[in-house]
């Protein structure tokens, strides 16, 4: 309908029957694009009809499993997508749009997995558990990003802050384990503390250059990434390779939470993880509470949206920005230590662009900690799917699976799924009058 009706003012009567309020031209185009997207996705699902057939067995915990027949599922998913596309183009789903989209994505995903694992066994729960693990540094990085951007400072430097966290925690952690009265475990935590402090210092540098000297925040962030990459690579080849003792920390084992870990399925996914994973969840809860329920949060958001107004009401804009950016640095430093905890050592450029993904997570999560958590889990899921499917040898190049999150980010940022709008004052230096 929206394809045929001219986008004039007279079109409101028929377009509003479902939703109740008049749709703007933008929203109509949006709804139409989504409908077309469903048709395309239905077409893609048809690909899953080719090649493999048979039933995919997905293993859960404790010997339980469930099977999905690949081809019938693909038929079912393709057909339901076609129906969904029809409804979307005909009248739209109104407030259910996003729910339908999520359901459709889940169906496609399951159909894809069934196709990839057809006739074989696949550790479903292992995939979900490692998705949670992989998403951890993204959550820390994204929370650091949100904290900066909500207070009006664009932080491209998440990558550098994470990388510094990884290096410092490995280096200081190894050093400290040799100190009197210290073991490898306590030494590791000293390293984590050092990582938080040094990343906070780099974040302070970001704030100082951006606020005091009004250097463009994207350029400062870029400089910090560049500088940290150079410095940690330099130090690692000059100091760490010659002294392997300085690059040797214990890996952190899983810390099973009593009782909760016994919950079927969920227990293994969520409650047999490292402290970093739990830390990420605590951070999201605490951060959300602080951002939306406290005076600090209100002020932070005000400073990010309209610093002049906040200033007029007596908020010290620059001090708040300094403080938030430095805190964000500490969070990112802690997140960087995740690599050390997982691998027990530092390698050059170990973060390998995860900080940039965290930046995308901020935007896909719409500058909200809970949104970022979901987005990070999604990115983690794709990482772990690519990881597990390389074992299955499906014939599908792993490059394409790895590519999916990047494509998805573009889709989200381009607003095909819904416009994502950042804090208004992000990126602009503030000058008090």
């Amino acid at each position: 309908m929206s394809t045929t009706t001219p986008a004039g003012t007279t079109a409101t009567t028929d377009a509003t029957t479902v939703v109740g309020t008049p749709l703007t031209f933008e929203e109509k185009r949006h709804a139409r694009n989504l409908g077309i997207a469903y048709i395309v996705l239905a077409g893609i699902t048809m690909i899953f009809l080719t090649g493999h057939s048979g039933t995919a067995t997905f293993n859960l915990d404790a010997g339980r499993s469930f099977g999905l027949p690949a081809q019938p599922l693909a038929w079912f998913v393709a057909a339901s997508l076609a129906v969904v596309a029809g409804i979307q183009l005909w009248r739209g789903f109104g407030k259910w749009t996003n729910v339908v989209l999520a359901m459709a994505s889940l169906l496609i995903f399951m159909s894809f997995l069934a196709w990839a694992a057809a006739g074989r066994e696949f550790s479903f729960i292992g995939m979900l558990a490692s998705a949670v693990t992989f998403s951890t540094p993204l959550i820390f990085g994204a929370c650091a990003g949100i904290m900066c951007e909500r207070s009006g400072v664009v932080n491209i430097a998440i990558e550098g802050l994470l990388l510094n966290g990884a290096f410092t925690s490995a280096f200081v952690g190894s050093l400290a384990s040799g100190w009197p009265g210290m073991g490898p475990k306590s030494g590791f935590w000293v390293g984590v503390l050092a990582a938080m402090i040094t990343s906070a210092l780099f974040a302070w540098l970001l704030a100082w250059l951006a606020i005091r000297f009004k250097v463009d925040q994207v350029i400062v962030g870029f400089f910090i990434n560049f500088f940290v990459l150079g410095l940690t690579s330099f130090l690692s080849s000059r100091v760490l390779t010659e002294n392997p003792d300085y690059n040797d920390t214990p890996t952190l084992g899983a810390w099973k939470i009593p009782l909760l870990e016994r919950i079927p399925v969920l227990g293994q996914i969520l409650f047999r993880q490292t402290v970093f994973v739990y830390g990420a969840y605590v951070l999201v809860v605490v951060f959300t509470w602080f951002l939306f329920r406290t005076k600090w949060g209100l002020r932070t958001r005000a400073v990010g949206e309209h610093p002049r107004a906040a200033d007029t009401l007596g908020v010290n804009v620059l001090r708040l920005r300094y403080r938030n950016v430095i805190m964000a640095g500490a969070i990112a430093g802690f997140g960087g230590a995740w690599w050390t905890a997982t691998l027990g050592r530092f390698n050059e450029n170990i973060t390998n662009g995860r900080g940039f993904i965290a930046l995308a997570v901020v935007i896909v999560g719409r500058w909200h900690p809970v949104g970022a958590l979901s987005a990070a889990l999604l990115f983690g899921l794709f990482d772990s799917v690519a990881d597990k499917l390389s074992l299955l040898n499906t014939g599908l190049p792993s490059e394409f699976i790895k590519m999916t999150p990047y494509l998805m980010t573009i889709v989200v940022v381009a607003g095909f799924v819904g416009r994502s709008r950042g804090p208004k004052a992000a990126g602009q230096p503030y000058e008090s009058q």
Partner: protein, 398 residues
């Protein structure tokens, strides 16, 4: 509008100045010469501290003299390694060539108000297109080489143009989309290099077929038959790219519109320019330049494609463009400086055991001191003078 107001200075005939002073005024010596030089000196000083403080063995012995000698040796090895021999100069040129083109890529976008981090991906696109032309065609070099370069320009331009189009149509911020397209291009390259169409027969690792000899860019030092002189005509292509950018922004109508759009998007819109077209066009031209850089890397330096032929060039180029203040001449000089650091750094690594990575640190520091002229002025106790046109990009919203 009358001629007088366009001219900007209708009153008083300009006073006569000595020729040399007038020359320095015209090129804005303070911002274009003094600040970059001070930035480089500042970076070298900080770099010296970093080299010294990481010399753990000597620090333990308290051998300050030894540390100073190491630093001196390193900083002597840098220029001599890069410029002390014909081979060094050749290597400097080899490093500088793609940096010039990728730097121009960043600068074209930056002067149109776009922060293009996507040079890496655009180089991948251009390089892969040119390697395909290079190994499938078997014509005379005079046809094949320009065709491969053209393929590089078009592929890189389209890859960049997508980003521009997305920005124009949906407002997707180019910083995010270029980071993502970089990853996508890298993964596509890796995948292509494993396909039958591209992969070199008999190889397990992702390496493309080799470009035929006729399809390679000729050597720059053609009179010498020393095979270690790798410099090629890609350097001339890069210089031509710089001339093109100068022409674009100083002489062409499109360039004028791009510049206007870059410095004030609202003004451009009110003047009847089309922001959507300009954004896409700017990214197309920028991508084309980076794609050309990828092509010279393939049919000039390497002769075949690997999964990392764009390396970190795309990122280094941002530093090059910032150092060159987004002007073609500045970029050529800055790329040369970075080429010197790269070529000299390898000799330094051999002679002093200081890892090549220190070059990364120096580059980052140079970017810092260039991007924060106020900081450099503070360190050197300089007074502010003239326009300090610090780059300013638009926030997420715009």
């Amino acid at each position: 509008m009358t001629a007088a107001t366009v001219d900007g200075s209708p009153a008083a005939a300009p006073e006569q100045k000595p020729k040399l002073v007038a020359f320095f005024d015209r090129i804005d010596a303070y911002n274009n010469l003094l600040l970059p030089v001070l930035a480089i000196v500042s970076a070298l000083i900080v770099g010296a501290f970093i080299i010294g403080l990481t010399d753990i063995d000597r620090l333990k012995e308290g051998d300050i003299g030894g540390i100073l000698t190491t630093i001196k040796d390193a900083y002597v090895a840098l220029p001599t390694g890069a410029l002390g021999s014909l081979r060094g100069i050749s290597e400097t040129i080899v490093s500088a060539t793609p940096l010039i083109l990728a730097g121009l890529c960043f600068a074209v976008a930056a002067r149109s108000g776009l922060f293009n981090i996507g040079a890496t991906g655009q180089m991948f696109a251009g390089g892969m297109a040119s390697v395909w032309v290079g190994f499938t065609m078997d014509g005379p070099g005079i046809v094949q080489v320009p065709l491969a370069l053209l393929a590089g320009i078009v592929a890189g331009g389209l890859w960049g143009g997508i980003v521009g189009l997305l920005k124009a149509r949906t407002g997707a911020h180019e910083v995010i989309t270029t980071i993502m397209t970089n990853y996508i291009a890298g993964l596509l390259t890796l995948w292509l290099l494993k396909t039958e169409a591209f992969q070199q027969p008999g190889k397990d690792n992702p390496v493309s077929k080799t470009v035929s000899d006729k399809g390679r860019l000729p050597e720059l030092f053609f009179w010498s038959d020393d095979p270690s002189l790798r410099a090629h005509w890609g350097f001339l292509v890069a210089l031509a790219g710089a001339v093109f950018m100068w022409w674009l922004f100083e002489r062409s109508k499109i360039g004028f519109e791009l510049r206007t759009f870059g410095s004030n998007a609202d003004a451009a819109r009110y003047a009847g320019m089309k922001p959507a077209t300009l954004t896409t066009l700017a990214m197309f031209i920028a991508g084309g330049l980076a794609g050309l850089g990828g092509a010279t890397q393939i049919i000039g330096t390497q002769g075949y494609a690997t999964e990392s032929f764009a390396g970190s060039i795309g990122f280094d180029a941002i530093a090059v463009a910032l150092l060159g203040r987004n002007k073609p001449v500045g970029i050529v000089f800055a790329a040369f400086l970075f080429g010197i650091l790269e070529a000299g750094g390898r000799k330094m690594q051999l002679e002093t055991d200081i890892p090549l990575d220190v070059v990364l640190v120096l580059r980052a520091l140079i970017v810092l001191f260039i991007a924060a002229p106020a900081l450099t002025r503070l360190i050197w106790r300089l007074k502010s003078e003239g326009s300090t046109s610090v780059l300013q990009f638009r926030g997420w919203g715009a």
